[in-house]
C-alpha cells in the first residue's frame, strides 16, 4: 500500500493585490476587510450545443455534468441540429409541414438515437460505439443528461430553431429551460468565465 498524505499550503487569507493597492493608496483597514470578505463569484461555463452528432453531444454532456459537479454554473444553449437529441425519445416525427417532418424522418430525434459524424455506416458505428461504451463502463448520453439536469445544468433551447424545425415546447424533454434567442446566448457567453461552441 502506497500512502501519500497531501500537504497543500493553506490558501492565503488575504488577497495580495488588494493589500498592495491598500498599501499604496492608504485605504483604511475596515474597507479592505469588506473586500476580503466578499464571497467569490461562482464560476460560469456556457456551451453552445450546435451538433446533433453522438460524438459532439457526448462531450457536451460530459463537460456540462462535470462542470455542475465542480460547482461551476453551467448553461447549454441548444441550437440547430443540437436541438434534435433533446426532443422526447418517444417522438418519432415532429413538425407541421412535410419539410419539417422530413428532417426528423431522416434524423430520428431523441437522446438514444444519435448518429456519429464519421464512420456512421448506417448505424453500425453507433452500435459499435455503444458496445465499447458498455464494455468500458462509460456513462451513456442518456445517463449523463439525467445527471446533468439533476445537478442543475440549464439547457436553453433556441427559439428560432424550434420555429424553423416545427418543434413545440412539449416536443422537447421536460428538463429544457425557457426558449431564448441569440441575444441571450451572447449575454450569457460574455458574462461566463468560459464558453464553448461544440
Amino acid at each position: 500500500m502506497n500512502t501519500t498524505t497531501l500537504d497543500r499550503p493553506v490558501m492565503p487569507a488575504i488577497d495580495p493585490l488588494a493589500l498592495a493597492i491598500a498599501g499604496i493608496e492608504d485605504v483604511p483597514d475596515d474597507s479592505i476587510q469588506a473586500v476580503l470578505e466578499r464571497p467569490a463569484k461562482t464560476k460560469e461555463l456556457v456551451i453552445v450545443n450546435w451538433s446533433g452528432d453522438l460524438d459532439k453531444v457526448w462531450p457536451v454532456l460530459i463537460l456540462s455534468s462535470t462542470a455542475a459537479a465542480s460547482g461551476v454554473r453551467c448553461r447549454v444553449f441548444v441550437t440547430f441540429w443540437g436541438l434534435l437529441p433533446f426532443v422526447k425519445d418517444q417522438k418519432r416525427i415532429v413538425g407541421d409541414n412535410w419539410m419539417q417532418k422530413m428532417l426528423t424522418l431522416m434524423q430520428r430525434p431523441g437522446i438514444d438515437h444519435l448518429k456519429l459524424s464519421k464512420m456512421n455506416f448506417l448505424g453500425m458505428g453507433p452500435w459499435m460505439m455503444d458496445s465499447l461504451r458498455k464494455k468500458y463502463n462509460v456513462a451513456s448520453p442518456r445517463e449523463l443528461l439525467e445527471a446533468a439536469t439533476a445537478m442543475g445544468v440549464e439547457f436553453i433551447p433556441c427559439q428560432m430553431t424550434m420555429d424553423m424545425f416545427g418543434l413545440k415546447r412539449e416536443d422537447l424533454i421536460d428538463e429544457m429551460g425557457e426558449p431564448a434567442g441569440a441575444a441571450t446566448a451572447i449575454e450569457i457567453m460574455t458574462e461566463a468565465d468560459a464558453s464553448l461552441f461544440i
Partner: protein
C-alpha cells in the same frame, strides 16, 4: 496519520470519467461541512481529476492512496 471518520463512501470502481466525480459531487452534498467522504475508483484518470476537482470546488483532498488497481481518495467537504 490521524484516524478519520468517514461519513459517506462512494464506490466508483469500474466507472469511467466523469462518473466518479459526478457521484462524489452528489455524495458530498449529503454530508455536513467538515465531514469526510471516501471514494474508491479504478479510473487512472481520477488521480489528476480528483486533485483538479478539489481545487475547483474548494473541498479538501485529504488523502490519496493506491494499491495499484484501486485508487482511494478521502475528501473533506468545504
Amino acid at each position: 496519520m490521524a484516524i478519520i471518520a468517514i461519513q459517506e463512501l462512494v464506490d466508483a470502481r469500474g466507472l469511467s470519467c466523469p462518473m466518479p466525480i459526478v457521484k462524489t459531487a452528489q455524495a458530498i452534498r449529503t454530508v455536513p461541512s467538515g465531514a469526510f467522504v471516501e471514494v474508491l475508483a479504478t479510473d487512472p484518470g481520477s488521480v489528476k481529476d480528483f486533485a483538479a476537482w478539489a481545487r475547483t470546488t474548494g473541498n479538501e483532498l485529504v488523502e490519496q492512496t493506491s494499491d495499484g488497481a484501486v485508487y482511494r481518495f478521502v475528501l473533506r467537504r468545504k
